[in-house]
């Protein structure tokens, strides 16, 4: 597969390491009363859709940036690639 890195352009996906669903960026608040349940569903449950899926890739053999890639899990078409840092800062 080819991932269009926002700063470096198209790169072979074999330079990247896949982590999983981008929901892993939303780490729950450890101090809330429902922390145990929140962390359980955050760590263990997944939408696992057949279709559009926002996921985390790490450019290990490139610039060591984490990317949020929007990819269709049936056709593998990639429609969007963002720097995870920018997405994280926007969410704060």
């Amino acid at each position: 597969m080819i991932i269009h890195h926002p700063l470096l352009g198209p790169r072979d996906a074999s330079e990247f390491v896949y982590l999983g669903d981008a929901s892993l960026m939303n780490r729950p608040n450890p101090k809330s009363e429902t922390a145990a349940d929140d962390f359980y569903s955050y760590q263990y449950l997944r939408d696992n859709p057949m279709g559009e899926h926002r996921e985390l890739w790490y450019h290990e053999q490139g610039d060591r940036s984490w990317l949020v890639v929007t990819r269709n899990t049936l056709t593998h078409d990639i429609t969007k690639v963002e720097l995870a840092r920018d997405v994280a800062r926007a969410q704060k």
Partner: protein, 189 residues
């Protein structure tokens, strides 16, 4: 008094073919610079003062005072300084001030130069197309990028149409060179 002497990662390796030369290139000093959070402008002015130019864009080698500079990651740059100076990172740190964090990286990398005799000979790119997954044939001069070749990390720098430099981690440099020479033999001999 005990005495220490430095060794090159590839012991000054050099091999020649009719159209091509592959040899170890003395790397000089490598320093990694990182921009302190929210001090981009202070960093930029310090960088200009220290190296004579604004920090480079991704994928584009930039000549600076004392050598070259490469964008290596988000808010990180790699400076290649000619000459030997074990405390190069400390000297740079003094000049750059608090907006930058420096790390000495010279010993972490080995450097290999691949040079073609003439720009007409395609030997340089015939070998590299069997080794590096990037499109170096059509890349502009000054193109630089980090990728992997034969499962080993490599920073590619296209100095000119006839000279390309490969930086690769020191511990696996011997393994990397062996693979590169094997590929060159397959293509050229």
């Amino acid at each position: 008094m005990p005495k220490l002497s430095p060794t090159l990662p590839l012991e000054s390796f050099s091999k020649h073919w009719p159209g091509l030369t592959i040899e170890e290139h003395y790397i000089g000093e490598l320093i990694s610079l990182a921009i302190a959070r929210e001090e981009e402008s202070a960093f930029k002015t310090a960088f200009k003062k220290t190296f004579g130019k604004a920090p480079p864009e991704p994928s584009q080698l930039m000549a600076v005072k004392g050598g070259y500079a490469i964008w290596s990651s988000l808010e990180q740059y790699l400076i290649l300084l000619e000459g030997e100076n074990i405390n190069a990172d400390k000297d740079i740190a003094k000049k750059m001030g608090p907006s930058a964090y420096t790390t000495l990286q010279s010993d972490g990398w080995a450097s290999i130069d691949i040079k073609a005799k003439t720009s007409k000979s395609t030997a340089l790119y015939d070998v590299l197309e069997r080794f590096i997954p990037l499109n170096l044939r059509q890349a502009p001069e000054g193109f630089t990028s980090r990728t992997s070749a034969h499962h080993i990390a490599v920073i590619v720098i296209k100095y000119s149409e006839t000279e390309i430099q490969l930086l690769t981690p020191r511990s696996s440099a011997g393994s990397f060179l062996e693979s590169l020479i094997h590929t060159a033999e397959n293509v050229l001999s």
